[in-house]
Symmetry: C2
Subunit: 325 residues, 2 copies
């Protein structure tokens, strides 16, 4: 077993002479249902060279996109054999002799996708990693690069929001939805969350309101609600949709003139239906957001780090809590 | 009968002493089907005062929006009694004593909507009118402020097009569609037009190709066409939709990554159906365009005149032909 306490006292040259690491990974060599194609495989890892960093994975989440990638239903196609997973928080074990920014014992998260994080250990490149404070919880750090950053970018990139403005979203208790509520609260923006009705609806509403939701309504309640007509809240100029179908249509119906509905998921597997009137006469725009594309297009941009560092507050405790069950 | 030859020799003061004009207008005092609510009404017009201009209407078209306004199905609600019509070309008969930019005999078009152009004569304000060359055909001038300007703005305002780029549109033989083909040819842009199949399809294709269409395909033909896959034409980055339903979905399917589908009409009365995949993974945006809003928001903008003056070439013959039957 690898222990940080021991490893942090030896340097890279000592490491390579003294021991090696066997990684246990969830690998697949063809597309299919994860339970059928994933296999637990052991690989002896090479020592980290040059700009490489050997890490031990401390926690790695399962995102829907990870499942879809394995199924072959995602636009990103891995080279086989592939290791599942795109996110994690890891501990640096040792580094190649050209690595300057990392040292053993630090916590890091991946900045690139497709690194295969469902493994016990991995060798990554220095520029694929970002240091995070060890004060940030493992759950928060391990889930920081996909869902909170999706929420962050969707709130920043489509409409210029001011304090007092309103954002509306369906799937409000998704990992992205929870981050939206928290960021809105931090920035003084009203957030209205739409959720499906369920037996424990009161507890769910309370949980989301504790995170920062201004209002939480079921799909049925939003249809008859007068929170916007009454002037209680400003009509939303920005809406997020991860459901599709009637839910997306209903959410778009509440948008103010010139508003934007951003789709980042389609849980109902139904398309977004857009009446001609709102498009033309209310100038409602229907857009999409894909974190993977944004990250590729902005790989070296300083903006790329502000969300992760800002949200997690590398100087202290997490600002945005990890997803609640 | 009012004759320009005679009237242009008398000044405004003489006019007001010598004669008055009775305008015959198509008026309505309630919403309904045009044939039921429109009445031919005679009104004695006041002499033009101050910044007013008395005009004789030479030609005025019927646009679908004019019908919808009378039916009460349009977001613009007139004050009753109202005169139908929003476009025309007119001749200046005489002007108020503060008018500086107009004189009798000139041809003018309205810059404002809702002026009620289905009349023989009218008194408008100086700032509601724009002079057009008398070399421009009456059909071209009378139809210049709605459809060609819609085409012009949709080509300018959503995607930065370069020569060699491709635009795709359904309803390709609409008045807007015809203007799109002509402007694309003038600017070196490929335009692909989709039309419904019909008995005289060969003649329609020829007519649209004469106007400037690069390719004209029926709804069935576009489904199996390989003009984009084969590389014959670059994939479109901009699409126009005035039909909705399956036609809009089909058009959006051919858009390149980051492309925009602009809806300006909904002839099928079916909504635009937007699959989640293209929104998220291809970054296809679904927008709308409404000329009335654009004109209001840009009433005094120099841009407002460039399309009318540029398209019609006030110095000579019309660059964009009026709608073909």
């Amino acid at each position: 077993m690898l222990r940080r306490g021991f490893l942090s006292r030896i340097n890279a040259a000592q490491w390579s002479r003294q021991m090696s690491v066997v990684a246990k990974s969830l690998k697949y060599t063809q597309h299919g249902e994860p339970q059928e194609v994933l296999q637990l495989v052991e690989d002896k890892l090479p020592d980290p060279k040059d700009n490489q960093v050997l890490v031990k994975i401390l926690a790695a989440p399962i995102n829907p996109a990870d499942i879809n990638t394995i199924q072959g239903k995602y636009p990103v196609k891995p080279k086989f054999p592939a290791v599942g997973g795109n996110e994690c928080v890891a501990e640096v074990i040792c580094v190649g002799d050209k690595v300057k920014g990392f040292e053993a014992g630090q916590h890091v998260i991946p900045l690139a996708s497709g690194l295969g994080t469902w493994t016990t250990h991995a060798v990554y490149k220095e520029d694929q990693l970002l240091i995070v404070s060890k004060k940030v919880g493992l759950a928060e750090a391990a889930t920081s690069t996909v869902n909170p950053t999706t929420a962050y970018r969707m709130l920043k990139d489509f409409v210029q929001l001011c304090p007092g403005d309103t954002v509306i979203q369906n799937g409000a208790n998704s990992a992205v939805g929870q981050a939206v509520h928290q960021l809105c609260r931090a920035w003084g923006i009203n957030s209205v969350g739409i959720v499906r009705d369920r037996p424990e609806i009161a507890e769910l509403k309370q949980m989301l309101q504790c995170l920062g939701a201004t209002e939480v309504l079921t799909e049925a309640e939003i249809r008859t609600s007068d929170i916007f007509k009454s002037g209680k809240l400003k009509k939303p100029r920005l809406a997020f949709n991860c459901v599709g179908g009637k839910s997306a249509t209903e959410v778009s119906r509440h948008l103010d003139n010139g508003g934007v509905l951003v789709t980042y998921g389609g849980m109902s597997r139904e398309p977004v239906t857009v009446a001609t009137g709102p498009l033309i006469f209310k100038d409602i725009a229907f857009r999409g957001f894909w974190m993977t594309r944004w990250s590729k297009e902005n790989y070296s941009s300083p903006e790329r780090f502000e969300n992760v560092q800002g949200d997690l507050r590398a100087d202290g405790a997490g600002k945005v809590r990890g997803p609640q069950p």
